[in-house]
Amino acid sequence: MNPDFCYETARLGDVLCTGIVDVSEADIARFRSLMGYGDSTSEEVAPPSMGLTYGLKLGWEHAIFPPGVVRMGDDDEFGKPARAGDQLTTSFRIIEKFERKERRFLRYEMRTVNQKNEMVCAIVFVGLMPSNTKAQIS
């Protein structure tokens, strides 16, 4: 956990957290149903957004998104799709801190690999940090 994580404490390049999740056929079926996938795709292969979602979950669990942070946009790359039976390892780093017009931003990098160390998804996104707020906006 990172209870004190914020713009000031964020250090470039440090791994903020790493976590492992197992993907089951039931997980995939649940996610496909939730997101409205039809019958045309396999239930053994996870939709691309599922790897993204599972990775972000780790970030929430480790409190690396300060309350009030606003996600501005992404640069996402997709690799090997996650499949039922895969074990996914995700890690987060901060790769840039910058200020513009008195606003502070962190650029996060999230990388998820499977048990063969093949890249599933690599996501870079910018978060606008809250100033001195306890607002609850993500």
């Binding site: 979602t53 979950k57 669990e61 607002a135 993500s138």
Partner: protein, 139 residues
């Protein structure tokens, strides 16, 4: 995975995909994603916020983009090294139906080495842009 893609000319759009946002969808997505931020799941907190109500997690209105690409390509996965670059422009809320519009802007032989480049926008039912960006799709 299919090896041949349906023909597409520059400027041509992919078949449209949509997602209808409900509070139940947002609540279930919160469980899957672990993001229980009150702005998403607490109607009282949403009412007290600048948004005037709950808003969807960003990945929900993005979903039709993935489904457009999969439906068009006839595959169950994106090709390796598919890239998306996008910005969130405005929130989406329960009751919104978000559609993704994707258009080919460059064929591989024109400018890009082995890539088809699409522009895309995720729009609400009132045509307000929620997300816009580009996708590089390897071929």
């Amino acid at each position: 995975m299919k090896t041949s893609l349906p023909p597409l000319a520059p400027g041509q759009a992919l078949p449209e995909c949509r997602i209808t946002i409900t509070q139940a969808l947002i609540d279930h997505y919160a469980e899957v994603s672990g993001d229980f931020n009150p702005i998403h799941v607490d109607p009282d907190a949403g009412r007290d916020s600048d948004f005037g109500g709950t808003i969807a997690h960003g990945c929900i209105p993005l979903e039709p983009v993935f489904q457009c690409l999969l439906r068009w390509s006839g595959a169950d996965r994106l090709p390796a090294q598919t890239r998306l670059r996008f910005r969130y422009r405005s929130p989406s809320r329960p009751g919104d139906t978000i559609r993704a519009e994707m258009r080919l802007i460059a064929e591989p032989q024109q400018k890009l080495d082995g890539l088809m480049r699409f522009s895309f926008a995720c729009l609400r039912q009132d045509d307000q842009v929620v997300i816009d960006g580009e996708c590089d799709f390897p071929v």
